[in-house]
């Protein structure tokens, strides 16, 4: 697969369709695959990689890249195409300056998932059929892919690309995973238990801003938390309130726009399940206003910029006992 991608990228560079390529390359270690730009065949040969660790969603990088002049090629996994569409809807990416290739994905793994399975000192990983073969300093390990997949890939929305200029591999199909099981479990708890749960999680937040910086919905020219004029600027959370507020506001700002790509939880160094905040909004939106999947379309209104006259009243939160 990797060589196929490199060949196609080279061809598009050669015929002048694009002048640079956005893809992945290995970082310090084999498992920290990092987004990277390539502008020649040589660079592609030397560095471009596409393997089971290439989980990073490249769409957000196109916000800046598409404004730099020239045309950039980007490889998008099925779940990344939702973010792409959402960013197009918000006029954040100049469509004419990007060339999109949809690439297949069987689910990605990450080092934390493997570590939890007792696999360390990883040097490489590749997919072989239904298995993931991991090379380590202590030899080879073979695990079923379904087990090795990152948490978010276990709730994959499907292998269908929402947008692309060309696609490598077969057209995938939509899937309908149970994405809301964990949210429902939380909702079933008592208010006190939920409070204890979230305090336990959010109190670990170190405000590294990784979740915000990686989030494809967080592309503001200046974040309200960095803007002294906003009245809520807050570079580091000093109190439990500020820990809560940052995540509530961030989730609210991306509500209706979040495609549930799961990048926030993937990059969180403290392993806070941030996607459970976003999924709560998605679940509520689906329940209250009808099924909605951000990024399915590149046009139209998001649930928070739309309404119907018969919408539920906010009191639904008390009466339906929404969360318990």
């Amino acid at each position: 697969m990797q060589s196929q991608l490199i060949e196609r990228a080279k061809a598009l560079l050669a015929d002048g369709t694009v002048d640079r390529v956005l893809g992945w390359k290995a970082g310090e270690f084999a498992y920290d695959m990092t987004p990277a730009l390539f502008s020649s065949a040589q660079e592609l040969d030397e560095g471009f990689a596409y393997d089971a660790f290439c989980g990073a969603n490249l769409s957000k990088y196109l916000v800046k890249e598409s404004r730099k002049g020239g045309r950039v090629l980007a490889f998008l996994k099925p779940c990344d195409t939702y973010s792409m569409n959402q960013l197009l809807k918000e006029h954040r990416i100049l469509r004419e300056n990007v060339y999109l290739i949809g690439v297949p994905c069987q689910g990605k793994t990450d080092v934390e998932t493997l570590r939890a399975l007792g696999i360390t000192s990883i040097t490489a990983a590749r997919q072989e059929g239904e298995d993931l073969v991991v090379e380590t300093l202590y030899g080879q390990r073979r695990i079923p892919l379904a087990e090795a997949m990152a948490e978010r890939c276990k709730a994959c929305k499907g292998k269908k690309h929402m947008i692309y200029d060309e696609r490598i591999g077969e057209e995938g199909e939509l899937e309908n995973p149970d994405r809301f099981g964990q949210v429902a479990a939380l909702e079933a708890m008592s208010s006190e238990e939920r409070f204890a749960f979230w305090r336990g999680e959010l109190s670990r937040c170190i405000r590294c801003n990784a979740c915000r910086n990686v989030c494809p919905a967080c592309t503001c020219e200046q974040c309200v938390f960095d803007n002294p004029a906003s009245g809520v600027d807050n570079k580091a959370a000093a109190t439990s309130f500020e820990e809560n507020m940052f995540h509530i506001i961030r989730a609210f700002h991306v509500a209706g726009r979040c495609t549930d790509c799961g990048e926030c939880s993937r990059v969180c160094p403290q392993r806070i399940p941030l996607h459970l905040l976003n999924r709560k909004f998605i679940k509520d939106i689906n329940t209250f206003y009808g099924e909605y999947q951000a990024g399915e379309e590149a046009e139209g209104r998001t649930p928070l910029t739309a309404y119907t006259e018969g919408d539920v009243e906010p009191s639904v939160v008390y009466t339906k006992g929404g969360n318990d």
Partner: protein
């Protein structure tokens, strides 16, 4: 429900200029009593109320926040309260999900003619929040120290 005798909650009420603020004025004109714990902030429309304002109020020590606007369909700006309704529904549900007592937040539609409803709503909200006691789950101790 236990009633916290002597506890005086701090309650912020955001009222839209055209209906609810006028409803509050009418409650006053009719001399309808409700506790002095309620302090009203006038906004042009319920859709002006940013979730940030509500969180800010809790941060600074509010024990309850209520948003009042025109009845759906009667918005002075035609559609403002429809957006407010969605925003607040989702925000309140999220606060509840985080374990913040859901009774501390409320939305009520009060028309300019509903002075009685305004006073009744405030009386009810104050007693609900009083029973809950001080807001501790969403507080900023530094602000309370001041």
């Amino acid at each position: 429900m236990q009633v916290n005798e002597g506890f005086k909650p701090t309650i912020v009420a955001f009222c839209c200029n055209w209906c609810s603020y006028a409803g509050a004025d009418l409650a006053g004109t009719n001399r309808l009593q409700y506790p002095a714990d309620v302090k009203i902030i006038r906004v042009p429309c319920s859709c002006r109320v940013n979730p940030l304002f509500i969180l800010r109020a809790f941060q600074r020590g509010a024990d309850g926040v209520i948003l009042c606007g025109c009845h759906p369909g009667d918005c002075h700006y035609t559609t403002g309260n429809y957006y407010a309704r969605r925003r607040m529904t989702l925000l309140f549900s999220m606060l509840d999900y985080l374990g913040i007592e859901r009774e501390r937040t409320r939305v009520e539609w009060v028309s300019a003619a509903e002075g009685v409803k305004f006073a009744a709503t405030m009386n009810d909200f104050v007693s609900t929040v009083t029973a809950l006691g001080e807001n501790k789950r969403l507080e900023d101790l530094r602000c309370k120290a001041n």
